[in-house]
Amino acid sequence: MPIEKFAILRSTCVPLPIENVDTDQIIPARFLKATTREGFGENLFRDWRYDKENKPKPDFVLNNSRFTGSILIAGKNFGSGSSREHAAWAIYDYGFKSVVSSFFADIFKNNALNNGLLPVQVGESFLENIFKAVEQNPDAVLEINLESQEITLLSTGEKEKFDINPYKKECLLKGYDDIDYLLSIKDKIIAFEGDRIL
């Protein structure tokens, strides 16, 4: 499936200063029963967001109208645990286009990139500064420039370069995916199968 092209994203942020946010929190297993990709945003962070009577918990950031935007800022080691791609779908479906953290779990990072959700890894101190800036002023805007691989806190001008695999960057910029590529090299794959010893 072609993914949405990613260019420059300028947005306010939603801060989630918690470490080791695992995919069971992002989307609990009981919501994985769907057979399509859509609609998972509704249950994003379900058990942190709603109480048992399904009433929004006022102290959770997604229920705080001060914080909006399409960038999620999260603590270290975001997306650990289960490989469920539903976590990336839920975040994207909710409306986020990028997640910023000082560390991402591997599978989550892959899943995010495969769905047009950009994981941006920044240094610990920059992450802290972003959290501070957003807490002080929810209107603080972050700019994420994929082409130049730069993330900038516009209110202070503080910026940092971020890493992304050049192939994945290309995919995101152009909006195409791995399967398009793999199908285009099918002859190579068949030749490889023939050459294998075992």
Binding site: N77, E85, I179
Partner: protein, 465 residues
């Protein structure tokens, strides 16, 4: 320079290397289940293509299946729809399905090895993070997301950057009552829940080599709990003996040819790793977790850390975890009552685990007021357990064996630990709500689970041995 085990297997599967990008890695075996595959099949339909190599994919429903009355129609409509979709999709594409009531059904990571589908030197993927289990056979095996499931169905390949390599050596001998589960919980407690991120781990050393295949699978299974992409152990006689004669294992001349190749699968003495760590088996005691990620564990005679023992940066997570678990700093764990015991999962739902549990409780009685679920990892495990009379031993002690599936490991079916209750569990994850909304999980070995099942509280299993 020599090659590591990981390099040997990885390099043998690279179809092509994208410039400045990932490798196109050929996949020998692809395992699928009902939860992470429907969207992948839907993707194929949308593109108008069929499964490229259906003979290399095997399917079984596990995550979502009931563990009682499996012969009846699944009551939960959504669960039933997923299982039906799996049946429909595999039929349409000519994929082997071990469906509900098939003698080979079970947790996907239990089924692959026991049928000989998993063989040394293979690349194996599955839309499930505990695919690392198969690394016990010297496979490069790792979990993937649904987009990647679709990739493999479409092309039998996956796009992957090569991970870094780590070697963890554990020498020495594990003490009595200390199991493979304790070994890996110990390593994770040392490494933290993210200490392995970006790495593929090779486990080596005399303590690892002396483990059975079941034990090795338990170790590799939990590699993901320290963030690693996967874990693997070089195949040896233990491995070859396990694989030989299984349903899908090579036979005759084919066996000899493969065996000769498998014997080359070990790290060369001068192989380089990006990181090397060593532990001593005699330092390990039965382990238990107290927090909400598998890195938050301690020896069973230990205590929950005091706040000052936790690095400042980790304190918010630590405090949040203790609050969720309703635990206090510095508290010893022994003697703490538990409400549920769960024995099962792809970590500890194999025949050895059931044996360990059964022989421990033999001649004893289930503690009053405790609820215990014993769930075999597969139909084959269930059959074996019955043929050994384990079901009788369990029944005599007051326990019953349920039917195979993931069950309370992730609580997608009806097997949920109620809010606020403590479950001592042989599974791999103690995340908030993992075993049911509000549930509190303590991870441990089948022996420690057995000790709790007969005493009703956290107990050092060595006291009974």
């Amino acid at each position: 320079m020599g090659k590591s085990l990981f390099d040997k297997v990885w390099d043998a599967h690279v179809v092509t290397q994208v410039k400045d990008g990932p490798a196109v890695l050929y996949i020998d075996r692809h395992l699928i289940h009902e939860v992470t595959s429907p969207q992948a099949f839907a993707g194929l339909d949308k593109r108008g293509i069929r499964v490229f190599r259906p003979g290399q994919t095997f399917a079984t429903p596990d995550h979502n299946v009931p563990t009682v009355d499996q012969h009846l129609t699944i009551k939960d409509v959504l669960s039933r729809t997923q299982v039906d979709k799996l049946t429909e999709n595999t039929k349409k594409h000519g994929i082997q399905l071990f469906g509900l009531n098939h003698p080979y059904q079970g947790i996907v990571h239990v089924v692959g090895p026991e049928l000989g589908i998993t063989q040394p030197g293979m690349t194996i993927v599955c839309g499930d993070s505990h695919t690392a289990t198969h690394g016990a056979f010297g496979c490069v095996a790792f979990g993937i997301g649904t987009s990647e499931v679709e990739m493999v169905l479409a092309s039998q390949c996956i796009m992957q950057p090569k991970p870094k390599k780590m070697k963890i050596t554990v020498n020495g001998q594990l003490g009595t009552g200390v199991t493979a589960k304790d070994l890996i919980l110990y390593i994770i407690s040392r490494m933290s829940a993210s200490g392995g991120t970006g790495y593929f781990i090779e486990y080596a050393g005399t303590a690892v080599k002396s483990l059975s295949m079941e034990g090795r699978m338990t170790v590799c299974n939990m590699s993901i709990e320290m963030g690693a992409r996967g874990g693997m152990i070089a195949p040896d006689e233990t491995t070859f003996n396990y694989v030989q004669g299984r349903e899908y294992a090579p036979k005759g001349g084919e066996w000899d040819k493969k065996l000769a190749y498998w014997k080359t699968l070990h790290s060369d003495p001068d192989a380089l790793f990006d990181k090397e760590l060593q532990y001593d088996a005699s330092d390990i005691e039965p382990m238990i977790t107290y927090g909400t990620n598998p890195g938050m564990g301690t020896g069973i005679t230990g205590h929950i850390p005091e706040l000052h023992e936790v690095p400042a940066g980790n304190r918010p997570t630590f405090e949040k975890a203790l609050q969720y678990m309703n635990f206090t700093y510095g508290l010893p764990l022994i003697g703490k009552p538990v409400d549920y015991v769960f024995v099962g999962s792809c970590t500890n739902g194999r025949i050895e685990d059931l044996r360990a549990f059964a022989y421990f409780v033999k001649g004893r009685k289930k503690a009053k007021d405790i609820i215990v679920w014993v769930v075999p990892g597969s139909k084959q495990v269930e059959k074996q357990a019955k043929s050994e009379g384990l079901d009788k031993i369990l029944a005599d002690a007051g326990f019953e064996m349920r039917q195979p599936g993931c069950s309370a490991c992730l609580a997608m079916n009806d097997d949920k630990i109620p809010e606020g209750k403590y479950a001592l569990s042989t599974t791999n994850r103690n995340f908030e709500g993992r075993q049911g909304p509000g549930s509190r999980t303590l991870l441990a070995s089948p022996l420690t689970a057995a000790a709790a099942a007969v005493t009703g509280k956290i107990t050092d299993p060595r006291d009974f041995l």
